[in-house]
Amino acid sequence: MTVDAITMIRSGPYTSVQDRGRAGHQAVGVPESGALDRVALRLGNALVGNPADKAGLEICLGGVQIAFQASRRVALTGSVAATMVITDHLGHDITVYANRSIRVHAGQTIHINGLSGTNTVFLAISGGIGTPPLYGSRATSPNAMIGGLKGRLLKDGDVLPLCPDVAFPDTAKGYADKMLSDLTVYDASSSLRVVFGPQDDRFTDQAKAVFLSSTYQVSPLLNRMGMRLDGPVLEHCDNADIASDGIVNGSVQVPGDGKPIILLADHQTTGGYTKIATVIQADLPMLARRKPGDSITFTAISVEEAEQAARDHEALLCHAIETMVAPPPMNAIASPCPSDDKSD
């Protein structure tokens, strides 16, 4: 018996297996990891009928071509503008927009080339990717060399096993594909909301004012551990050293050179540099969508406002998932042999 699988014909420069991550083990140095854009992860899994904990592909910068050896439903999320091209066994192409699911049949391929309007997209696959889990998660943390496929970014030729397929309960009605009718979940204020602290008292008042009034640019030095920002330096009262403390996603760390770094999903679990502020949880997905050169500004809010923003954001996300609708049929693609498609 063979396991259902996909093959990365072209892996792209920065593609990895991701899910919700493995929080709970940071005390022993295991990074939380997981998809940078948790909104894209949740929406993608919902669109293909997966439970929220299934693993898919996080694709930064595009450049991906995937061959399917099994029939699966897929959905691309993370942007309103992104597209993928599905090529059938006769060589016919069909362009599929983000935020809807569609069944890809064995023998067909998906191309995701340049990304439009975002740095990262997420490809959800029904059933989910079936690489071995560690601490209950398949998320890849390339720096820690754990998760995903051999703890690394994907390479050309990699074969990824898939977990058994899932099916929407309404498949009997013939409408198994879904699309989002509400895309407001992608609306993003241009400014990232932050809460000052834990070490804002180690910065001059002027540095805090500069932090809020300046426009920063995302540096090309961008990876899953952190996003460096180019812009005005932030002056410390004395120095950047602290007694090491734990780090959360979104921590804005400022080392001795005064240049802020926003720490992302694969950040080290503890660190010894001052952190002026923390990007709130509700705005973390927006970070995954920023490209090198994009502008970033910060707005300070209170802890209570940040917690309320998380609840509001969750309500928006739940509404988007509850109001998914059946999409219009895609008709430009050749029918596969019927035996491929028993689950519909």
């Binding site: 709970g24 939380e32 809460v195």
Partner: protein
Amino acid sequence: MISSNKQHSHSGQETKRFLPAGGHGLVVNFDDTQLRPGESKGNTDLATRKARALAGLIQEAAKDGKLSGIVDLIPGLTNLLVQYDPLLITAKHLQTTITPWLDHLSEDSGKSRHIRIPCCYGGEFGPDLEGIADQLNLSADEIVERHVASSLEVAIMGFLPGLAYMKGVDEALYLPRRKTPRAMVPALTLGIAMDQTVVYPMPSPGGWNLIGRIPIALFDPGKDNPVLLRPGDKIKFYQIDIKEYNDIYKSYHEGQFVVEIS
């Protein structure tokens, strides 16, 4: 009784007990003397143990269903980061719940595990041993003697899965980290700097002074419990030669060698 988010240090300065990390993290700070790393070691260790003790109490409360929304607990040097789910709990509720506990924190040293770890010092495994012997005005043998005699304690972990910062290295061995970090340090190499020892669980860039290598894994994803060490563990290293290193390495990877934990 701690009634507000303020505590008075011995120097009269006020420091904050609770520090926000967005609306999804709360740092509980025990650094009530405005310590900087390296100053007044005794108080730092006490504060670090208190932070670990608090982590234990929160973990218990979460397990008993008395506290919901705890995502992770990350002990630091003199502090504890509580990562929480703002859909399930607020920082205010968390603060109110744990504040009464702060007056009754015992040092958790009584529950600590004692672990003995073999190490092959010098040679190819410890390329910095000879060099630092000159710097410290000690012989290589004396450095090894003092290192195996040091009673170490895992203060915090981080940087890589399974990497422990073990404090308590003999004062005669205090050194800064190397000015230029190495681009790649082989897995399981042991380094010293300041009052601390680390062992790199996997190949990694690193700036510590490398003096030996251990034959057993600190992080093994194939095991039910992949990480060997945890904060609070008391560690002693003992010296083995290259033949013993090879024997233990083989026996460990065949599942025969059992690490001494008491």
